[in-house]
């Protein structure tokens, strides 16, 4: 148990006895938790006393201790890649000169709601995390990046940041930045380029943002949920964090459940919970399930019977060829057509391309065409082969992972719906293609 001293001698609320929920514990009512309510639930920001002492050596040692605690907690990034949070902080802290912290709350994934929920209800928990990360890496600038089109959210976050500034809570003021609402703009190199005054588009690495990011300085870009967990770990310690989850996947995580489910929404689960159990928490399938999309629009289709026992964790999903992504589960009912859903989503991803890399500019529309042929027209017997042939021509050939996400989705659809795919290719579309679209796609395209 790590005790982090604070400047303000104020007692912490007793450490939470119940393991769950953690992040969503203070979400009573539909309004954002104000600063007072936040401090009442979680206690003040646990910045070590040395942070304010002005003694550089003492502050640096306290920062190293904080990073040690994060590393021991086993916290991994909750944005999708699952990179160890402690290692990221350490490498940015070791970089030359003052660092920059960027909290990514832009949530480009249309099927994810968790970051928006966290930011709209518990903004100060996220901002505590930003402040602690800034202290850990020795940052002199801190940004909270969200979608600019959500003006109400931006305004409420700006108000929260101002309240903290008035109360003198953070060492580094948190700047709220609204970025363009498109899918690729939420990619970390795109955010860094935007903050540097360029277009919000992905760039070619290296240099990696760890080494040279905002203003050429070492930059830690972290998902807002990761930072909220960091704020909890700094308060209650790494041992407490590990009380939930499994040894290889410790802690809790937020998942967004949608599709044919009784109570769609955001749920906080222990990492390692079987997918079937998560879906039962959400009221269970609303119809007989056919398959589950895990990880979002960059994700993987798993047949329902495969998905049910799989544990929600990076190792668990990797074992069946999937990935956690941002913790998204979409339940596909028996009555829908998985190929039609995939075709619609890949068309959307093709339209969302930043238009910078050839394989993405030309490959994704070709892949979307082939999938649409298979799903809606079929009957030519060559669509499956066309799709399988296009995938290796696209995968891994863009500057960012956008094209890889689309090929992953297409490849998993051919595997999970292999029987349907053969039927479509030989005989034509099934009845399922007439079902209303299941997965939300901004600006839906109709084929029929």
């Amino acid at each position: 148990m790590t005790v982090v001293a604070t400047t303000r001698r104020q007692a912490y609320p007793a450490r939470p006895v119940r393991r769950l929920p953690r992040l969503l514990a203070g979400l009573a009512g539909g309004r954002p938790a104000g600063l007072n309510q936040h401090e009442h639930s979680y206690g003040p920001l646990p910045l070590p006393e040395a942070a304010w002492s002005g003694v550089e050596g003492a502050a640096r040692r306290a920062a190293t201790r904080l990073i040690d605690v994060v590393e021991r907690s086993g916290l991994t990034g909750r944005g999708g890649a699952g990179f160890p949070a402690g290692r990221k902080l350490r490498s940015v802290a070791a970089g030359p000169g003052p660092a920059v912290v960027v909290a990514n709350g832009s949530e480009g994934e249309p099927a994810s709601r968790k970051d928006r929920l966290l930011l709209s209800r518990a903004p100060h928990l996220v901002m505590d995390g930003i402040s602690l990360a800034a202290f850990a890496v020795g940052a002199t600038e801190a940004y909270l990046v969200v979608h600019g089109d959500d003006a109400r959210l931006v305004a409420s976050l700006e108000a929260a940041a101002q309240a903290r500034e008035v109360a003198g809570i953070d060492q580094v003021p948190i700047q709220v930045v609204g970025i363009e609402g498109r899918y690729v703009a939420s990619e970390q190199t795109a955010i860094v380029q935007h903050l540097n005054g360029g277009p919000g588009l992905p760039t070619f690495a290296p240099p990696r943002t760890h080494d040279r990011g905002v203003a050429g300085r070492p930059t830690a870009v972290s998902n807002v949920e990761t930072l909220a967990h960091l704020a909890m770990i700094a308060r209650y310690g790494h041992t407490w964090f590990r009380e939930a989850g499994t040894p290889s996947a410790p802690g809790t995580t937020l998942v967004t459940v949608s599709g044919a489910i009784a109570r769609p929404g955001v749920y906080e689960i222990e990492l390692g919970t079987p997918i079937g159990e998560v879906l039962m928490q959400a009221g269970g399938p609303a119809e007989r399930p056919q398959a589950v999309l895990v990880g979002g629009y960059f994700g993987t289709w798993l047949p329902a019977e495969v998905a049910w026992p799989v544990s929600m964790s990076h190792p668990g999903l990797r074992s069946v060829g999937g990935a956690m992504g941002a913790g998204i589960l979409v339940v596909l009912p028996e009555s829908s057509c998985g190929l039609a859903e995939t075709a619609r989503v890949v068309r959307y991803l093709a339209n969302e391309s930043a238009g910078q890399c050839g394989p993405c500019i030309f490959g994704l529309p070709a892949l979307a065409d082939a999938l649409a042929d298979l799903a809606y027209y079929g009957g030519r017997g060559d669509a499956v082969d066309r799709i399988a042939g296009l995938i290796p021509l696209i995968e891994g050939r863009g500057a960012c992972r956008h094209p890889d996400g689309a090929t992953q989705l297409a490849a998993s659809a051919l595997a999970a719906f292999s029987h349907d795919a053969r039927w479509h290719d030989a005989e034509g579309p099934c009845y399922g293609v007439r079902q209303p679209p299941l997965m939300p796609v901004p600006g839906d395209v109709e084929y029929w």
Binding site: A205, P206, R208, Q356, C357, G358, C360, F362, L393, R397
Partner: protein, 69 residues
């Protein structure tokens, strides 16, 4: 030496010069963009690889030791 070729996919605009100069290693996809194997360039081709990198009109082809992160 284990030197690798990398293409910066943002700057590459499919001139196809590299595949012309180094067909032993680089092929083109249906849209004219180079497909570069993610493996070290064979020793006997390294000179030609450097020439191909230098000839790229958009300087998108890079010879380097580091793998793509």
């Amino acid at each position: 030496m284990s030197e690798r070729l990398r293409v910066n996919p943002i700057t590459c605009t499919a001139h196809g010069m590299c595949a012309e100069l180094l067909p032993e290693f680089i092929t083109l996809d249906p849209w004219g963009y180079p497909i570069v194997p993610d493996e070290p360039v064979p020793d006997e081709l390294i000179g030609l690889a450097r020439k191909a990198a230098a000839a790229c009109p958009t300087l998108a082809l890079v010879v380097g030791k580091r793998r793509r992160p």
